[in-house]
Each structure stands twice: as C-alpha cells, then as structure tokens.
Symmetry: C2
Subunit: 252 residues, 2 copies
Amino acid sequence: MQRYFLTHAVAPTIGTTFTVSGPDVKHWVKVMRAQPGDQAEFVTSAQQVLVATLVSTDGQQAVAKVVAVTTPAVELPLPVTIACGLSKGDKPEQIVQRGTELGAAAFVFFDSQWAVAKWAPAKRARKLERLAKIAHGAAEQSHRTVIPTVTYQDNLAALLAHTPYDQGIVAWEESAKQGESSQLVQTLKRMTAPQRLLAVFGPEGGLTAAEVAQLTTADFVPVGLGPRIMRAETAPLYLLSNVSFWCELIAR
Amino acid sequence: MQRYFLTHAVAPTIGTTFTVSGPDVKHWVKVMRAQPGDQAEFVTSAQQVLVATLVSTDGQQAVAKVVAVTTPAVELPLPVTIACGLSKGDKPEQIVQRGTELGAAAFVFFDSQWAVAKWAPAKRARKLERLAKIAHGAAEQSHRTVIPTVTYQDNLAALLAHTPYDQGIVAWEESAKQGESSQLVQTLKRMTAPQRLLAVFGPEGGLTAAEVAQLTTADFVPVGLGPRIMRAETAPLYLLSNVSFWCELIAR
C-alpha cells in the first residue's frame, strides 16, 4: 500500500476524516489514480500508521477517512546517525537512499581533511534539500515511520558539537588492516535501546590520523568492518545492515 | 597497493620472476605509472597474494619479481551465491559491484515469472561479459582473492539444476510481513564452513507464490530480512553484510 507522511496533526482514531494536499494528493490521485474507496497509509509524527480510505477529491485536495490505526515496529531499536566525509559524484545520494531503506535515523555530511569533494556554501542548501527529498521518498517506499534528517557540518569538531549520540564509532581502515574484528560487536553488546549510535565514515581518501585521534579522544571506538575493502558509500550500508541483524534478527 | 588477478600460473616463491601483459600491464604501467622498483599485488588462482616489484617494462609487457607471499583470509567462510530475478536498468550492475565488495562468491541472474526485464538471447553474452568485468574490477578494488562468477539461467528450475549449494534460502516479502525474523539466524547457525549458501531474491515485483513453493519443496528456507521493505538491489547487500557480520565479526 502507498505510504505518505502527514505534515499536520490528525487524530489517530477510526472514523477521523482529514485533508490530504500538496504533492501527496497529486501522487495519490494523479499518479496512483486513487478512486473513492481506495486506501493508502498516512504516518503521523508520533510514528502511527493510519490506513485511510479516499472519500472525495477535486484533484487539488482529497478528503480521507481513517479505517485502521497501527504502530508498526519498523525503526531500528538503536537509532543510527551516519556521518560521512564529503564524497564525489552521486555517492551522498546513494548513501541517503540506501541508508534510509536500511533504517538510518539521520545523515550528516561533513567536510573532512582528505575530502575530495567540497560543498560550496552557495550550493549547500540546494544539495541538502535534494538529499532530504531522496530520504523522504525512500522512507515512504521502505515503509519507515520516520524520515531521516540530512544535515551538513563544516568539520569534525562541528559534527561532534552538534550531533546528539550516546555511543560513537569510527570505521577505520587501519583497524580492519590490523585484523580488528570484535569492536563493533562489543560496542553493540554494550548498548541498550533506545541509545543512539553515531557512526563516522571517511570520504574516499579516508580520515586522517589526526581526525581519528580527535574521535578516539571523544571516546569513539575504532571498528573494523570485515576483511574486505569497501568503498565510501558501501561501508555505511554494511554497518546499518549489521545493526539491523543484531537488533532485529538475532535479539528477538 | 594495486591488486591484479594472474591469468597464468606463477610459483608463489620469493625471487620468482613473471611476465605481466594485457590490460594489467596497461593499467599498472600507463594508468598507475609504475616505475621499476614499484610494487603491486598479484593474486594466484590458489588465492595467494604475491607482492611483486616491477623489474622492467616496454609498455606492452612487464617483468615483475615476487618479494613476498601471503594468503590473506578475505573470503567469506560460507561462500554465498546471490541469485536474482532480472531487474531493470543498472540494478544488475549495482548488485554485482557492491555484492563483490561485500564478499559474494557468485552471482546468477534468472528469468522469473514476474521479472519486468528480459535479457534477449542475442544480448545475453554481452551483458554477462560486462557484469564479469565489473566483478573483476570490484574484486581488485576490494582486495578479494576470488573473482565472483556471473551467469544466467532461463528460469528457477534451471537455476536449481545448475547451481551448486549446500543450503538455500529465499528472501520472501511475505515472511517479513508476518514478522518472521529468526530463520536467517537459525540457518546460519546450522551451517559450518565451507558450506555454500544459495540466496534467492525476486526482481522488483517479487517472486510468485508458485516460485516460492518450488524453492521450499527444494528445502529452501524462506527468510525475513528485517521489518523494512528493501528494493531488489538492496536486499542482497543486506544479506551479504549479515553473513560477514555473523562469520567474520561475531564468530571470531
């Protein structure tokens, strides 16, 4: 069933009618060609999912009526923020799209010492807007109940100052090279829901030793992510898959 | 260090000299601009890694000398074959590229009942050649010691008849919808290295109930891959990440 995120408050009770407008009505009525009686899902800001029936529409707005209310557990019990050094081309788009499917709570892109890409100040807002749109679409498609946020920070210090987290990890190639393979598991073992994990990844060129030191000083744990070398946009997906496996498949 | 796969036998002993030719010499000498004394890694068919020094080159061929031999454990202890229904656009390329980084041993694309894409017989060989090239490049980049194979099968029955495996699983959306979350873990618990896992994924539209029945009759286990809906090209990456986490991070 098609899913949309509500931008205004709707009472989560059966029989409530509400108005759908903007891009969602356009998509539901024009793209999906919904007819009166057809259903879609609408997610409230409290992560409830309202199944609603189309009552009537004039093409600009639609009236829908709630017929069922559920609170599905589709969010990672340990919310994960993915922080990535700026990488080239469409890698940020790929990280946001797939990372949203894999359950990330938030994305932060930060300028790092070996970043090969730069986000000029004039272009930053537009880039973030585009990434937010990708997160929104992927959250609808993957049936999330939260749209991940996407933000930018000027450097690692700003990232640490402005990102809330309970436990930090840094994916460091040198850890992997030395055969380190237990720190990620140990870290996940120590965490309990709903503690927040902040996972920092370098750009293509990696993080500098100084940046890694800055992170370990802030109690970030350097973790190896297996023996193969992953590209900048693949490592966050590996991590998110692992957190899901740990919390959602093993722990149940 | 740059890595290449040897196409001919080279004795894995320090001091052995051998010839590099074809695309590898072009890449090493022309693209990477290797000078005599520079080093690269060459992988033998027995998964040994020879560190070799460039002795001399005329641009067409190069003579290299082995200075170190290692046998790194970079392959998944449980070899995984990823079998996917034909999906649209560049999804097969993405599955092969990222799946190789994440350790897949082989890829099989098969025509399934709800496949939206078709590989016309006349184009099949060229498609497979292109995917094999992507697997080769990704294996070099991710420092694998095996290049995954890429093959095509006409349907599910042909896939089952021609693919060697010890345990089969099928990612089935209905399993996930019913909240099934333990079968993947149970299956991995039952397996011991070097047993081979064959993981079957549908195309965008999924597998039909008849196809899933065909697989369960052949003792494939339907597995849920977490509560979120993943696109056709993301689910295999989730599975491979999980197998790595299980075998390479948890088990050590």
